[in-house]
């Protein structure tokens, strides 16, 4: 029996007190696609980072094609035959270079590559790579000008020039639309036929249905399920991933009655259907949809960052037309944006300074800040949200992702508001912190309308009274969070009718 392409035994990893991986065993075979499912914070990313050389494992062994394998750093891992395409695509391409140069970049970087570039040869080789991958883009185009999907394909094709034995794809469809994703799947099929062992990380059931030969589930740093007998049991995989069945929630949904924010005939773009939606006092309303469904755009419109194409909004019956963020905040509309590292965290500031940022004027007399009150208020909020830290003077960078997110959310709970918008509040947040945040948002929901924009169904079910689904810039369906029919919800999200994908 031939050795596995990659075999991991007893992998352990601890960050501080946090045991992220508690003994992972898994194996990958050549010419097959293994899907790795796991909720946020299950330890998927850590596992990947060990395999591709970013972190050292605390304990455990890895074998690559039967040989012991311990990459010293990411380039060592690539040299040994483990290629990884990370979630953020732009790590994998050089935006200012053209497609041909991007595809050939790894060859150019080899120490044995010739000093002068032979343009013709480079383009010919690049063409070969592109053809073998079925990529049909202009090789002279600048990568920065390409669509996200094309960039993603190029990032993958680039890694293939090194002929890796193992290819790891970390949530590759998270920025792709449904049609773009299907092109990616064709590429993956091709690579599987070429005998590459593929680890496909995602928690999107629709992807996994399409692509996986077998499924591994991870939960709380351990493998919680292996599914390899056809037909694959997706339902069982999902509950192995979540550790509870989806309808297992400990609150009763209260959709509320008094409307706070009313959106009337709002068109995000010229072509989109009009959105009519009202968010009510005391309710938590989840707006879910895939990337490109328009949910972030809607959040931006409500927060005054972008203007809608047409339509109107009202808050408490009064006309609401924000022209800027300060304007929106003035009207009592607060938003915690997605991608906390780029959009929310102020590096170099401590917890207090980060948390109190929006409301400094209420902590100051004649512009002079009252340090004591700032810290007292932060301590208070830290306690309410269960921020794990030594004190409110800790630098924000010393906190874990989940705790940073608690601070970012806490920032907007400092003062009462009419409408609270949370865009992807559980991005890069471990399960414990996610529960804490969810609980606190629900507990404090009285007196405002809370809208949570997210792409994960299970997260929405965990927090919301009511769930609306966006697809293609408009609202596809609405569900009260009580005995939800998952299949209906999923088909709303993916735009499918009776389980077939609408192309």
């Amino acid at each position: 029996m031939p050795a596995h392409a990659l075999k991991v035994t007893g992998l352990l990893k601890t960050f501080g007190k946090n045991r992220v991986l508690r003994g992972i065993d898994l194996s990958l075979d050549s010419g097959s696609v293994t899907a790795l499912m796991g909720a946020n914070g299950a330890g998927k990313s850590t596992l990947v980072k060990i395999v591709c050389g970013y972190y050292d494992a605390d304990d455990g062994e890895i074998e690559l094609a039967g040989q012991p394998y311990a990459p010293a750093n990411p380039s060592d891992a690539i040299a040994k035959g483990v290629a990884t395409v990370h979630q953020s695509i732009d790590d994998g391409v050089i935006p200012d270079l053209d497609v041909a140069n991007n595809l050939m970049l790894d060859r150019l970087a080899e120490p044995t590559a010739s000093f002068f570039i032979r343009e013709g040869k480079l383009r010919k080789q690049a063409q070969q790579v592109a053809d073998s991958m079925g990529i049909d883009v202009d090789l002279k185009a600048r990568v920065a000008d390409l669509s996200v999907a094309d960039r993603q394909m190029i990032a993958i094709a680039r890694t293939m020039t090194r002929q890796p034995k193992v290819l790891i794809l970390d949530e590759p469809t998270s920025s792709l639309s449904a049609t773009e994703a299907s092109r990616l799947f064709d590429l993956i099929d091709r690579l599987r036929d070429a005998g590459v062992a593929i680890l496909y990380i995602s928690h999107r059931t629709s992807d996994i249905r399409r692509i996986a030969d077998r499924i591994l589930c991870m939960r709380d740093g351990a493998i919680s399920g292996v599914f390899e007998n056809k037909p694959l049991d997706y339902e069982a995989a999902v509950s192995a991933m979540l550790g509870h069945s989806m309808n297992d929630i400990d609150f009763t949904a209260e959709p509320g009655s008094v409307p706070v924010l009313e959106i009337k005939n709002l068109k995000l773009t010229e072509k989109a259907n009009a959105i009519n939606l009202s968010a009510r006092d005391g309710e938590v309303l989840a707006v879910i949809g895939l990337l490109g469904s328009g949910k972030s755009r809607l959040a931006e419109v409500i927060y005054g960052i972008n203007a809608a194409f047409s339509g109107e909004m009202q808050i408490d019956g009064k006309n609401y037309q924000p022209t800027s963020v300060p304007d929106a905040v003035q009207c009592g509309v607060f938003m915690s944006p997605k991608d906390r590292a780029t959009n929310a965290v102020v590096p170099g500031f401590d917890i207090t300074h980060n948390m109190t940022l929006p409301f400094l004027s209420s902590f100051s007399t004649a512009s002079f800040l009252n340090g004591k009150r700032l810290r007292a208020r932060t301590q208070d909020m830290n306690q309410q949200l269960g921020v794990v830290c030594q004190s409110e003077k800790d630098d924000i960078g010393t906190l874990s992702g989940g705790n940073q997110q608690k601070v970012m959310i806490g920032r907007w709970l400092m003062e009462p508001c009419r409408v609270l918008l949370l865009d992807e509040p559980f991005q890069g947040v471990d399960i414990g912190a996610r529960r804490d945040i969810g609980k606190h948002i629900r507990a404090s929901a009285k007196g405002r309308a809370t809208l949570v924009f997210m792409s994960e169904i299970d997260e929405a079910i965990e927090i919301a009274d009511r769930i609306v689904v966006m697809f293609d810039g408009s609202i596809k369906g609405e569900h009260v969070n009580e005995k939800i029919e998952l299949t209906a919800l999923i088909s709303d999200i993916s735009g499918t009718v009776n389980g077939t994908v609408r192309a």
Binding site: V325, T342, N343, V346, F349, H353, S361, S364, F368
Partner: protein, 336 residues
């Protein structure tokens, strides 16, 4: 190196070095540790210090102002021009200069936030423009009373005593005629900027947007206004520096102030290393300016030749930068 020692040396290393330097010169150089000598150091750093405090504000909003030296020399020429040639009073001259500084700052700010010119390039362009502009009214000549204005007409105006007072007056402070006016102004500006950046919400927001502009914008900070304000502060402080320089020299010397830009930027950057701040801060800037002043004064008193001065400043700056960036990267590296 253990973590605690590393932390300690990041935080206090630079101050200890400063104290060590003072002690060393006190023993080695005769007459170094006297009030007169201390005041001399302060006076030598007062003007660069004021400019450095302004540039600190632009560094705080993650910008940079290369035009400060040119603004200062423009203020120098403008004050001389308005008094000597236009025969205006000291008050008019000072107000004109302050207004000019604020206006240049406004233009810098607008170039950067409205026309999206990168800060270094915008202020570099402004520096060039001002260096050229200040030469046009006098055909490239320095300005002094009695200078020829062509065809037998001479400049009749004089530097008013009130204006010269700004640069030359010395207050009694324990000793008679000890504290020069520029030093007092430097200290006042240092305290004001220290209070503004460290203790007001505007200062806090400026630091926030300098650290993560997008995040500041999304919490509702009026990012553009604050950026423009930072450049205006920088322009005004630079023009104050120019006024003091003119008042000390008593003439519109076209060639003075050549070193102002580099010296003040160096002071602000050395300031990063003070108390392990690793970011622009007014206290550090003042200490940075002082550090260079003490070093040069001590060396001069020990008969080091004047032409070694720039080399020494450069060496201090490079050392401070390594101190700041290398050591604090080690520290953050140790946290994970």
């Amino acid at each position: 190196m253990s973590d605690r020692l590393l932390d300690f040396s990041i935080k206090y290393g630079f101050l200890i070095l400063l104290i060590g330097l003072v002690l060393f010169f006190s023993f080695a150089a005769n007459g170094f540790s006297t009030p007169r000598s201390a005041v001399f150091v302060l006076q030598s750093v007062a003007i660069t210090g004021i400019l450095a405090l302004g540039v600190t504000c632009t560094l705080v909003v993650d910008g940079f102002d290369l035009s400060i030296g040119a603004v200062a020399t423009s203020a120098l020429m403008l004050s001389a021009y308005s008094m000597v040639i236009l025969e205006q009073s000291a008050v008019v001259a000072v107000l004109l200069c302050l207004f000019m500084g604020a206006f240049v700052g406004l233009i810098n700010g607008l170039l950067i936030v409205r026309f999206r010119v990168p800060d270094l390039l915008a202020t570099l362009g402004m520096m060039f423009l001002l260096i050229g502009l200040q030469r046009i009214p006098t055909q490239g000549n320095s300005i002094a009373t009695g200078m020829s204005l062509g065809i037998g007409v001479n400049a009749e105006g004089v530097f008013s005593p009130a204006f010269l007072w700004l640069g030359r007056h010395r207050f009694d402070f324990f000793l008679e005629r000890l504290l020069p006016m520029p030093v007092v102004i430097f200290l006042i500006i240092a305290v004001l900027i220290w209070l503004f950046l460290g203790f007001t919400r505007h200062g806090r927001l400026m630091y926030a947007l300098g650290s993560n502009e997008k995040a500041a914008e999304l919490v509702g900070v009026k990012v553009k206004n604050y950026k423009i304000a930072a450049y205006m502060i920088s322009g005004v402080t630079a023009s104050i520096g120019g006024i003091l320089l003119a008042a000390r020299l008593g003439r519109g010397d076209i060639a003075s102030g050549n070193n102002l830009l580099l010296d003040s930027v160096a002071a602000a950057l050395i300031g990063f290393a003070v108390l392990g701040a690793a970011r622009p801060n007014p206290f550090g800037t003042a200490i940075g300016a002082l550090f260079v002043g003490i070093l040069l004064q001590g060396m001069t008193m020990m008969n080091a030749p004047y032409y070694t001065q720039d080399f020494v400043k450069g060496a201090v700056l490079v050392a401070a930068l390594v101190f700041t960036f290398y050591l604090s990267s080690r520290r953050t590296g140790a946290g994970h």
